[in-house]
Symmetry: C2
Subunit: 426 residues, 2 copies
């Protein structure tokens, strides 16, 4: 029973008429707003402009070891940048590879590597039939899409407030065809959940039937706190070492939402054996990544600590935006029995669950009124939310006033769709 069950039919109908009037009024305004993707706003990008002037004839272009970053060499990145990423991954510098501009591309390449060549000498996934991958959902559509691209079957795992439902994970991992799991362990996309210590420990000690099981650990928001102190994530790699499962842990991060999306620096970390295999593949793939851009970042940030401090500037820009989203939800949808949501302490999203069967229609109404949202279902494998209820709100890109308008309209649409559904079911 929800609050909605106590509202009489007539009051429902009246409220629906009222919401429809408000919706039409919004629609007539010809809005053009975008809350679809986790993009930083221009105000955030301005925070890092100084980075672009770091490498030039006056400031120098060599690493501290005297390597000319303008020329070929150092396939796995410059030492300065490895040192900045190592404390983020909490591993030794030797276990870090600094790559190009995109951690997503590094993940794609890792899956492609195991697909075509196998993990550490095991049978390539291309030569195995019917393999599967675990997708904690709601989750990140682009993760799921990578495995889908390689013809791997996606298995939905429920998310809990502590991370993926580990009972389900353990059950599925007993199948040797299940080859891995996608994780955004801190401030998860879209729910903003940080995995509990217990979840991390169960992942590290997971009895996976497949010897080539991989944990794709995308620490995309590892230092992207909105409030101090930020969430703490247990070090999966150390736990895995203790369980001798360290070869299954592959960690990724980037500065996409620290410096510039698309013009930042990405990195990965893993066990020495896995890193050696990736480095070997890279030696076939490319001569080197963009070391000038690495040096720009290394000079601008100087250290991991400074980079963390830089994130406070981002947080100051983002907190009011998240506040607008959460206030709107609270004012308009709280205690009505039609929606629930999280209050993330970091990351880039707010996840909203509406009544079952109401997400798609809500998005449709928003789109018709000029507000672009992440498509309904996008947070689930194959773009299909089995309960059609989850909506990912990305508050970071629009200016505050546009965000306010978009959120007011969002709440109108959500309530309208849910009440109509309720009325139809009466």
């Amino acid at each position: 029973m929800s609050a909605l069950d106590f509202i009489p039919r007539e009051r429902l109908a009246a409220r629906i008429s009222e919401l429809e009037r408000v919706y039409e009024e919004y629609k007539s305004r010809g809005l053009k707003l975008d809350m679809s993707r986790g993009k930083p706003g221009p105000d955030q990008l301005d925070l890092t402009m100084g980075l672009l002037d770091q490498v030039n004839l006056r400031n120098g272009y060599s690493t501290r070891d005297g390597i000319d970053t303008r020329n070929y060499g150092l396939v796995d990145g410059i030492p300065e940048m490895k040192e900045i990423f190592a404390p983020l991954f909490e591993v030794d510098v030797s276990q870090v590879i600094v790559g190009g501009n995109s951690s997503l591309n590094m993940m794609f390449d890792f899956i492609a590597m195991v697909y075509s060549r196998g993990l550490l000498g095991q049978k390539p996934w291309a030569k195995q039939e019917g393999i599967k991958f675990l997708c904690p959902s709601p989750g990140y559509d682009r993760h799921f899409a990578i495995t889908e691209y390689f013809g791997i079957e996606l298995v939905t795992i429920d998310m809990t407030p502590e991370g993926p439902d580990m009972d389900q994970v353990e059950r599925y991992a007993a199948d040797p065809l299940v080859k891995g799991i996608w994780c955004v362990p801190m401030y998860s996309n879209p729910d903003g959940i940080t995995y509990s210590d217990q979840t991390v420990r169960r992942l590290a000690s997971l009895k996976a039937a497949a010897d080539d099981f991989v944990i794709m650990w995308d620490n995309a928001y590892g230092i992207h706190h909105l409030y101090e102190p930020g969430d703490k994530l247990l070090n999966l790699y150390r736990e895995a070492e203790a369980n001798q499962t360290e070869n299954r842990v592959v960690m990724f991060a980037s500065t996409s939402k620290i410096s510039f999306p698309g013009a930042g620096v990405a990195a990965m970390a893993a066990s020495p054996a896995v890193i050696a295999e990736v480095r070997r593949r890279m030696s076939f793939q490319t001569i080197c990544s963009d070391k000038i851009n690495m040096l720009r970042h290394a000079k601008f940030f100087g250290s991991f600590e400074n980079m963390c401090n830089h994130m406070k500037l981002h947080a100051a820009v983002l907190r009011p935006k998240f506040r607008v989203v959460l206030d709107a939800l609270e004012e308009n949808l709280a205690s009505k029995g039609i929606a629930s949501w999280n209050s993330p302490r970091g990351g880039y999203f707010v996840g909203v669950n509406l009544m079952d069967g109401c997400a798609g229609e809500t998005i449709r109404l928003l789109n018709e009124a000029g507000v672009v949202m992440t498509p309904a279902g996008a947070t689930y494998p194959y773009g299909k939310d089995p309960r059609d209820r989850n909506i990912r709100i990305a508050p970071t890109f629009p200016p505050l006033d546009e965000l306010r308008t978009a959120m007011q309209l969002f709440c109108v649409c959500a309530e309208l769709v849910c009440l109509k559904k309720r009325l139809a079911a009466m």
Copy 2:
């Protein structure tokens, strides 16, 4: 019969003693010289430093369409940079994808795409057994290595002064397991050969038994002339269109040796169908490449014509270096019946053929005396030169005086090894 056959035994032995003395003298100098890879020299890199200051708060960071290059978006590159590359490929702008920093990586990805997903709906190479790839040799080791990485059998094709031996290519292409050919059609690596019109036409009209045959057309040195006017290459794509084989043509280029190796911009061009397939794959692979770096290049060069003019500055630096190499060869090895070489009008290398069986030993002597060379055999599939005679000289990186020393020593080693071989066979 060569000039060598007329030298009596005693004179050979005396010359060998003399060369050995000179060699030991060089060795005692503790040289540290590198002629191993086609890297631009620092003097060349200085030519482009202005590029690094192009994008900043004062100069702006948006494309002419108002796209903020600092943020996500435009998976296939900014229009300005496509327009600079289109005339190089001689195709329509819509057929160009601008990628990351490495054309080699784009080639790797293209082979990986066909391997895992097949070309335009055909059977993935991963699902076919015993496939092969044609490798005109001497050629570029990193090309061959990509196909080797995917377990594809490498077939050596002889190079002629007009490009690959097309009789051999036509014969092999009748085998449906032969899936493609690697080409560096202008100023080829390492021989500096530009394919003749006849060769390009025969490639375009090639009767390949495999429907998924691909011509990997790496136009790495398309505007890298040493002398004006530069060589002219017939437009393979137009010829292929006339033969309805355009879906097999995949062209690559980069600014690695125009701006900065590793921090330049790479691009590819192909038929609309193939480009659509690559773009689709990219949408799984990454959100976008580094658009700030693209904008830097677009602002610095402004147009294809300006970029070609910029290459004249490179040529001015490189001509004396090639001159040193060719003069040394001419002065020391000409008419002795022990070596032949090309005189390239562009590109990055001079290819030398010694007497059969003498390349490996010559390189060994050079290495022992502190001169790093491309390993013998590197220009052939699997790193094995069947006649052990080809050596790739890369004159671009060392300063002129070091290059002079290295080339004198090269000639000493080459003559010494060849004469010893001749003496032993007497």
